[in-house]
């Protein structure tokens, strides 16, 4: 069988290549084999599925909070439960859903889009996933054993310090950060290496699909931002709590504002770490569903890169109310507003792409249009928040809650849902039900605006954040009742989405390799892709290799098919440099992650676990890098 997309190659027995590749990329069966898998689709899909489960958990937490706030003086939740829920909601959505799901999409799609067989460091990839999973289980184990963190997802000191948050709750939060940050750093490192060194020959920097550009930029941001939160949560907070270091304890001369600076130096880039991959997804949907190349490719790339740079220079706008000197604050206002320029350029480019394209009204395209509506509104309220006098009024009110849900749900969740509908045929081999997809969109869109629009007004009317109840005399009843009603509509949309995914996965129409006639390389292989992605590695002759005529398509020959081998190319022009054997599947990433997870969990309870941690981590890594004699080498 030859795929329609594959070029006709003479002198090569394609069927024999396929058989060789199948053998080389096969993984052992059973649970052992399942835990040993290192192919990027398997790991990427595990990220995506796990993240969606956490999205469901975070959504349930949000819905419980909405029930509590639906009417004044409600006693549905105690303040203690409410504080745990909003902390869990924020933590889950930021650390266990939004970042991992974007990484999962990247891990799944980037090697396919680049025309290679796997990520650069497959075992690190598997290790990162298990660390993330362990962190998520650890946090929820905390919640269900009445140790759910309750100091907010930002855990400001001294409230989160040993004086005012006794018990293990905040320790669980801070250590969970360690897990997820290790995971994020693993993905960032391997995606950077993959995108810079493993592109298909011919895919020079100006031909990289925009989604891969956004994953590259996001990964660099992760490398610079995540160490900051590990300093804040692990070095400052956890050490203050467990061994009395007093970094940020004002009672002993520490500085609570230092914590805020370091946390937000991570915290603001974090928003772009979530949002930038979503921009790439929009570009992928828009080019396919308007039948034309995205307008202004260089402007799009430069905007994303500029967003990443500026994103590191505006953390102080989270701290305008702390009384910093005015001259510095004006700088941060200007920097915050500059994001409006880089986002604006991208929005304009998409609009003119649609303007001169042929729109296909797919479910994915609906989500993109929802993105325009919601994200532009959220971006514009962001301009309001950048102005210091206005921020001082609406900071820490429901206006901010409305704003960041508009930018995060509009700017990341809607594109993600669009992308999920768009790539569903590639993930599963079957088409997703478009009609139900559109109904899902309308439910989410209407429900979202009903939930979050009234919050702008509640904020202006003085409703502060993170309050578990309010009096009826405050005049906040109607806005809150409306928001809770909207949340129910969102819940219905979410349930419909889950049903659609399961039904379509089982009984959707067969998709074939490229059902949407897209132009990028992930559509050049079977749906779902085989473990080795491509029988013959493709060559990129343009930005949209599949939109060139079949006879112009080229393939790479000379890469060994009897072992896990990929082609390494140059950074700028993607000229082939050498062949690079990737490691085989291995159980050791799982064992290492498990041992380190046990040590990190233990160190929350007793200092001695730090020593044990060094030893067991060493055991895991020795096993990992031990030159085991491989089966395929013998055969």
């Amino acid at each position: 069988m030859t795929l329609p997309m594959e070029p006709a190659v003479r002198d090569i027995d394609v069927e024999r290549e396929r058989e060789n590749l199948k053998r080389a990329w096969s993984s052992p069966g059973g649970i052992w084999g399942w835990l040993s898998v290192t192919t990027h689709h398997a790991i990427g899909m595990r990220y995506i599925v796990t993240a969606f489960i956490f999205l469901l958990a975070g959504g349930v937490e949000a819905f419980l909070m909405r029930l509590q706030l639906s009417r004044p003086d409600n006693t549905f939740l105690s303040p203690d439960k409410y504080n745990q829920l909003f902390t869990m909601h924020g933590t889950t959505m930021m650390f266990l859903f939004a970042v991992p799901v974007m990484e999962g999409m990247g891990v799944y799609l980037v090697p396919l889009m680049l025309g290679t067989r796997n990520v650069a460091f497959p075992r690190l990839n598997a290790f990162g996933y298990y660390m993330y999973l362990a962190g998520g289980i650890f946090l929820y184990w905390g919640l269900f054993s009445n140790s759910g963190p309750d100091a907010g997802w930002f855990a400001y000191t001294p409230l989160s310090g040993p004086m005012y948050s006794a018990g293990k709750r905040v320790d669980v939060w801070a250590q969970m950060i360690t897990f997820t940050e290790i995971s994020a750093m693993c993905v960032a490192a391997e995606l950077i290496a993959t995108i810079l060194k493993m592109r298909a020959p011919g895919m020079s920097l100006n031909r990289i699909p925009l989604f891969c550009w956004s994953m590259l930029v996001q990964s660099w941001m992760v490398l610079f931002a995540m160490p900051a939160v590990m300093i804040a949560s692990t070095v400052f907070l956890l050490n203050d709590r467990t061994i009395g270091t007093h970094f940020v304890n004002p009672a002993e001369g520490g500085d609570p504002l230092l914590y805020q600076h370091v946390f937000w130096f991570f915290g603001h880039p974090e928003v772009y770490i979530i949002f930038i991959p979503a921009l790439g997804m929009i570009s992928s949907i828009v080019d396919t569903d308007t039948r034309r190349a995205i307008f202004g490719y260089p402007a799009m790339v430069l905007s994303v890169v500029a967003t990443a740079f500026i994103g590191f220079g505006l953390w102080v706008h989270h701290m305008f109310a702390t009384g910093l000197p005015q001259i510095g604050e004006a700088y941060f206002t200007a920097a915050s507003m500059m994001i409006g320029i880089t986002s604006g350029v991208q929005i304009f480019c998409w609009i003119v792409t649609i303007w001169t394209g042929r729109v296909r009204w797919s479910a994915a395209m609906h989500f993109v249009l929802g993105f325009f509506f919601i994200f532009v509104a959220g971006g514009l309220t962001g301009i309001i928040l950048a102005a210091i006098p206005l921020d001082l009024q609406v900071h820490d009110t429901f206006f901010v809650v409305a704003h960041f849900h508009y930018v995060l749900i509009g700017g990341a969740l809607f594109p993600l849902f669009g992308g999920f509908h768009h790539w569903f045929p590639k993930f599963t081999g079957r088409m997703i039900d478009e009609r139900i997809g559109k109904v899902t969109f309308w439910l989410l869109f209407v429900g979202f605006n009903l939930t979050f629009f009234p919050m702008h007004l509640l904020g202006l009317y003085g409703m502060t954040r993170r309050i578990y109840t309010y009096g009826s005399e405050m005049g906040w009843d109607h806005g809150n009742a409306l928001a809770t009603a909207g949340a129910s509509i969102i819940a219905v949309g979410g349930i419909l989405f889950i049903i659609n995914v399961f039904v379509s996965r089982k009984s959707g129409a067969l998709a074939g390799a490229n059902p949407l006639d897209s132009g990028t390389l992930e559509w050049a292989t079977t749906s779902p892709p085989e473990p080795f992605n491509f029988v013959l590695l493709p060559v990129a002759t343009s930005r949209y290799p599949l939109w060139t005529l079949p006879k112009e398509r080229l393939a790479v020959t000379g890469v060994r098919s009897d072992r896990r081998e990929v082609l390494v190319t140059t950074v700028m022009d993607a000229e082939p440099r050498h062949r690079y054997p990737l490691p085989h599947s291995s159980i050791w990433p799982f064992i290492s992650a498990l041992l380190i997870a046990i040590a990190l969990t233990g160190s929350v309870f007793a200092f001695g676990w730090y020593y044990i941690g060094f030893i067991v981590a060493a055991i895991g890594l020795i096993g990992w890098f031990w030159p085991w004699r491989r089966r395929e080498a013998r055969s």
């Binding site: 303040p79 004086m163 034309r292 200007a334 609009i351 006098p389 001082l392 702008h456 003085g462 109840t469």
Partner: protein
Amino acid sequence: MIRRAALIPAIAALALLSGCGAKVQSAMDPAGPEAGRIAGLMWFFIILVSVIFVVVMACVLYALFRGPRGIEQEPLERTHAPSTATEEKLTRNVTAATVATVVILFGLLVASVVTGRAISSLGTAKNGITVEVTGNQWWWYVRYPNDIAQWTVVTANEIHIPVGRPVQIRGTSNDVIHSFWVPNLNGKIDLIPSRVTERWIQADRPGRFRGQCAEFCGLQHAHMALWVIADPPDKFQAWMNAQLQAPQPPGDPELQRGQQVFLNHACVYCHTIGGTSAMASVGPDLTHFGSRSTIAAGTLPNTKGNLGGWITDPQNVKPGNHMAVVDIKADELQPLIDYLESLK
């Protein structure tokens, strides 16, 4: 038609915003020069961003529903991109839109910085007074400092200010970070332990303005409110004089009994009542408790019934707060309430 449809939500938003008369605390109902300037700037921003929103949405809808003019001759199935001439036209449009964005944002930046400067210059007026506010879990310690120690007034959860005079709030915290925010008068300022921060407020009309802690501070963050009461200067002075007066020992035997109940119970470990042996500063100063309008930091109106409920079971209304349950016998409660309410 499309444009009109897009305008509806914007108009609805503005209509909802302007109908804000009856709100207890609102940034859009300013009562002083600081809040007034902010509200003006807020309206400017809201109207401008609403217009931008409508224009962008109109562009999206136009892009979607216009016929594919100008590119019929160029079948996208083959080239997947319009002609160079079309692309150049698009480049000009995108460039123009980007330039417009830069210009608008620069204008907004200038408006924001100018307003910020104007607001901070209000605080330099010479006839200002200073009020120290210290955040506590979950109440506000309020002090009117004076060079002469006897003229210093200490109260809690209520700030009286004279109309028309700038008031400097000097804030700090005894425990975790809180944030002082009275939306009708000015933006918020965090109260940070080990630091002193300041914000100027001023009321141009008499009234009662509610404020609320705006930085998450633990279990009872929701019940940490305060009232700012702006009075004409003579009325403010009268209040100040009353606060400065040392309370007289109660003459009424029933009130004397109430005072004994207070002094013989654990109340004295946390509270101060001037002129008695109760001099602790863990909880609010009760010297002029009867003159305050609320109890438990704005949680309940200060009535005898509410006070009785609060003393008997403080964890019921405000679960998690630091007020201890004091074992007061049934026949002691009424004298205690009467005594506390007599402290005007």
